[in-house]
């Protein structure tokens, strides 16, 4: 009872997937400068999964990859939080802020937004984004599978 929507919808969905994913990644990467962040960007990327499911009614089985991605993201998140602890501070101490290098720049007052600031915060955004993408995609995948609106592509 899975529904394959009309050719118009499918073509537009195929074209829209890449911009949606890129836009979500933009939200994740610029989370420390503009509204957005790991959760919001992850949700936007995950909705591209929803788009594919709804347009084609079929999708590749990438549950294992998604599950691995989720666990990896969370583990990395915890380890990033542990960076401060290992250096002798407490958990979640932002020990990379202002130390130079990528994401280590300094900033003050109103500014146009420099991408290389924030210390561990952009990195945490990225790993949380990975986790959220995988988690929400997995939820959508499982529920679509159960409700019979998804065929597994080979």
């Amino acid at each position: 009872m899975n529904v394959k929507m009309s050719v118009v919808v499918r073509t537009v969905a195929d074209i829209m997937v890449v911009p949606i994913v890129v836009f979500g990644i933009y939200l994740i990467l610029h989370g420390h400068l503009t509204p957005g962040g790991g959760f919001q960007g992850g949700a936007v990327v995950a909705s591209s999964t929803a788009l594919l499911i709804v347009a084609h009614g079929a999708m590749k089985d990438n549950k294992t990859d998604l599950s691995n991605m989720e666990s990896t993201g969370l583990t990395l998140f915890f380890l990033l939080a542990m960076v401060g602890l290992i250096m002798g501070f407490s958990l979640f101490y932002n020990s990379l802020a202002g130390t130079g290098g990528i994401f280590g720049g300094t900033v003050s007052g109103i500014n146009p937004g420099y991408i290389n600031t924030g210390g561990t915060i952009p990195l945490m955004n990225i790993v949380v984004g990975m986790e959220v993408i995988a988690a929400l995609s997995l939820i959508l995948w499982m529920m679509a599978k159960r409700s019979g609106s998804l065929e597994v592509e080979k």
Binding site: L33, I110, N111, P112, G113, I139, M142, M143
Partner: protein, 116 residues
């Protein structure tokens, strides 16, 4: 604008009471989950309303027009509660799907094999 001072918060309470009404009196399980979603919306709106300051800007320094900002903490709390909300909704709905598979009904009057 005295009357307006509490209007959003009163609407928040209205939303919560509506959600509780659904959960108390509607028998359909999916409808009950929708009621819970309404309560979630009310709670999120409540937290964000607490953060609002008249005439202030969003707490982002990137090309901000002024320096006075609304309170950031409730925004962070609300983000957390939104994600928790979608997680609980998904889990409850998957329970309902399994319940339909086993019991053939999503009416709460039928889902009472555990009782006494």
């Amino acid at each position: 604008m005295n009357w307006f001072n509490f209007f959003p918060l009163i609407m928040v309470v209205t939303l919560v009471i509506m959600g509780l009404y659904v959960v108390l009196f509607k028998k359909n399980l999916i409808k009950m989950i929708m009621g819970i979603a309404i309560i979630q919306n009310g709670a999120n709106l409540f937290l964000v309303s607490l953060a609002y300051r008249e005439g202030y800007v969003a707490p982002i320094w990137t090309s901000a027009p002024a320096t006075d900002m609304v309170l950031p903490t409730p925004h962070a709390l609300t983000l957390t509660s939104i994600v928790i909300g979608v997680a609980t909704t998904a889990l409850m709905l998957s329970f309902v799907i399994m319940l339909k598979k086993h019991y053939g009904s999503i009416n709460s009057d039928d889902a009472r094999r555990c009782r006494e």
